[in-house]
C-alpha cells in the first residue's frame, strides 16, 4: 500500500507542473481533469516518464440534466463559463483514460459536450489506444482526429448518428430504423 501511495505521488508530481487539478477518490486511484487542448501534452509526459501502461479508455454519457439542482451537481467541477453554457444546452460525454502502474490507477478525465465532441488521438503515443478510441467513437459519438473514421464494432449498415452507449439509445426500433 505504501508503494502505491508513492507511485501515486510520482504521478501527482508529474502532472503538477502542467497545472492539472488532481484528486484521490480512492486510496489506490488518482483522478486528473484534462481538456482536449492539453490531453496530448499530459499523455506525452506520462509516456516519457514510463508511468505504467494504458489499460483502457472508458466513456460515460451525461445526458442533458433535467433540473437546475442536478445540473449544478453534475457540472460542479467545471470552471469554464463558455463550457458550462455549452453543456447546459446539449449534454456531454466524459472520457476516462486509465493508466495502471502496479496497484495504482491514474485516470485522466476529459469532458466534452455533444456539440464539441472532437478530441485528438493518443494512439501516436500509445499504439494500443486506437482500439479503445475506435470503440469510444462508435459507442458514444466522440470524433477522434487521427484514426480511421469507419465502422468498427457495429455492423456495416448501422444507421448514422446513432450511438448505442448514450443513455438516449433504447434500441434501433425507437430510433426509426425499422
Amino acid at each position: 500500500m505504501e508503494d502505491t501511495q508513492k507511485t501515486l505521488d510520482t504521478a501527482d508530481e508529474l502532472l503538477k507542473p502542467l497545472g492539472i487539478p488532481t484528486n484521490r477518490p480512492e486510496d489506490y486511484r488518482l483522478d486528473a481533469s484534462v481538456v482536449p487542448a492539453n490531453l496530448l501534452e499530459v499523455a506525452k509526459r506520462i509516456k516519457e516518464a514510463h508511468w505504467g501502461y494504458l489499460s483502457t479508455i472508458t466513456g460515460l454519457d451525461h445526458p442533458e440534466p433535467e433540473s437546475r439542482e442536478s445540473k449544478d451537481r453534475q457540472w460542479r467541477h467545471i470552471q469554464d463559463e463558455a463550457m458550462l453554457d455549452d453543456l447546459e444546452s446539449s449534454g456531454a460525454v466524459e472520457i476516462l483514460y486509465h493508466f495502471c502502474c502496479g496497484a495504482a490507477v491514474l485516470s485522466l478525465r476529459l469532458l466534452v459536450s455533444y456539440s464539441h465532441a472532437t478530441i485528438p488521438t493518443i494512439s501516436n503515443l500509445f499504439s494500443s489506444a486506437s482500439l479503445y478510441e475506435m470503440e469510444l467513437a462508435e459507442m458514444f459519438g466522440v470524433r477522434i482526429q487521427g484514426i480511421p473514421q469507419e465502422h468498427l464494432l457495429l455492423p456495416e449498415d448501422w444507421p448514422k448518428n446513432v450511438y448505442p452507449l448514450r443513455k438516449s439509445f433504447h434500441g434501433l426500433k425507437e430510433s426509426g430504423r425499422h
Partner: protein
Amino acid sequence: MNHKPSADEKFIIPIGPQHPALKEPGHFEFSVDGEIVTGATVRLGYAHRGIEKATEERSWQQNAYILERICGICSHIHATAYTIGVERLAGVTISPRANTIRTLVAELERVHSHMLWWGVAAHEGGFDTLFMYTWRDRETIMDILENLSGNRVNYSANLLGGVKFDIDQKQVDMIRKGIDFLEERTHYYYQVITTDETFLGRTENIGTMTREQAESLGSVGPTARASGVERDIRVNAPYAAYTDFLIKMITDTAGDLKARFVVRLKELFESYRLIREMLDNLPEGELVVRVPRRIPEGETISRVEAPRGELFYYLASKGGDKPERIKVRTPTLPNWSSVLSVIVGHKLADVPMMLVGIDPCFSCNDRMITLQRKDNSDVWTWAKLRQYGIDYYK
C-alpha cells in the same frame, strides 16, 4: 511476357470469420510476399452482444449473472471482478471463508482454462495427440467444478456479498486427489513441450516479442510475462484471498511462443500449490453477508488477473438499484496488438500458432480493430483483382 511483380503488389490472404484454422469468429487479412507476412488486419465484432448496455437496464444482482456469461471459459473471473467492485461500492466486507472459496474457484478455473488452451495450441501446431491428452485430463477439473457448483462452466460461485456454496471435507479430499493427478500430468506435459523436437519447431524463436514491445503495447497476462514484464494483478494489486495466500509471479525472458507455453505451465504448479494451501487453511465464516439492493452513489475500478491477463472493470452507481455504467476491458483486447505487430516477417504457416499463442477469446473481447500496415501498400478490391486477371491473361 514475364511479369515480375513490383514491390508494392501484395497478395492478401483472408482468414475467417469461418475458417478451419480458427474455431472462433474473427476475420483476418494477411498481406503476404511469397510466404512471408507483410501486414495484418483484423475485424472482430461477430459475437458482439451489447452486454455493457444490457447491464444498465438490469439490477445489480441480475448483472452478476449476465456478466458471468461474457465468457464461457473464464466465467468466474468476470463475476469476481464485478462482485469485488460492487462490494467495495457498498462498503461490504465478505467473510474470509467466502473470500477463500472465491479465490479457490478462480484458481481451479485457471487450471481448466490453461489446459484447454494448450490443447487448442497443440492442435493448431498439428499435435493432435497432445490435444486429446490435455482435454481428457481437463475433465478432472471439470468434474471438480461440477461437483462443487453443479455446473461445468458457468458455476455461479459468486454472489454479491459472498459465495453460493461451501466446501466440505469430502470435497476437499476430492479436489486434492484431482490436483495430485493433474500435477503429475503437468510435469509430463512440461517435458513434452520443452523437449519434443517437432513441437519446438513450431514454437521456439517464433513470434518473439521483446520486453520493450510488450511494455509499450500494453500486453497483459502470460503473454506479457513470457516477455519478462512483471505484470500479474494477483501480485501487483492483491485482491480477494491473494492478500493472505501469496502467489509467485512466473516470468520468462525468451518472449517467443515456447516461453508462453513455459510460463503458463509453470503457473499451473503455482496454482496447484495455492489450491492445496487454501484447502489446508480454509478459514471459518459465513458464506454470504447482506448487500443492499440499492448501491450507494460512487464509482470504482476493479482489476483482477483472469487466466489470460488483467481484466478491468469500471463501475459507476448513482445510488439506484441498477448500475449507471459498467465498463469491461478483457485481456484479449490489449494482446491483439502484440500479436499483430510481431506477426510481420513470419511465415504464413506460423500464423495460426501465433494467433492462438495469446489464448484469444473472441466472445470476451468482441470489438473491431484495424492495424495499420507496415507499408502503404494498396489494398485491392475483388473487382480490381478480377480485372487485373483478365488483363493479364488477354
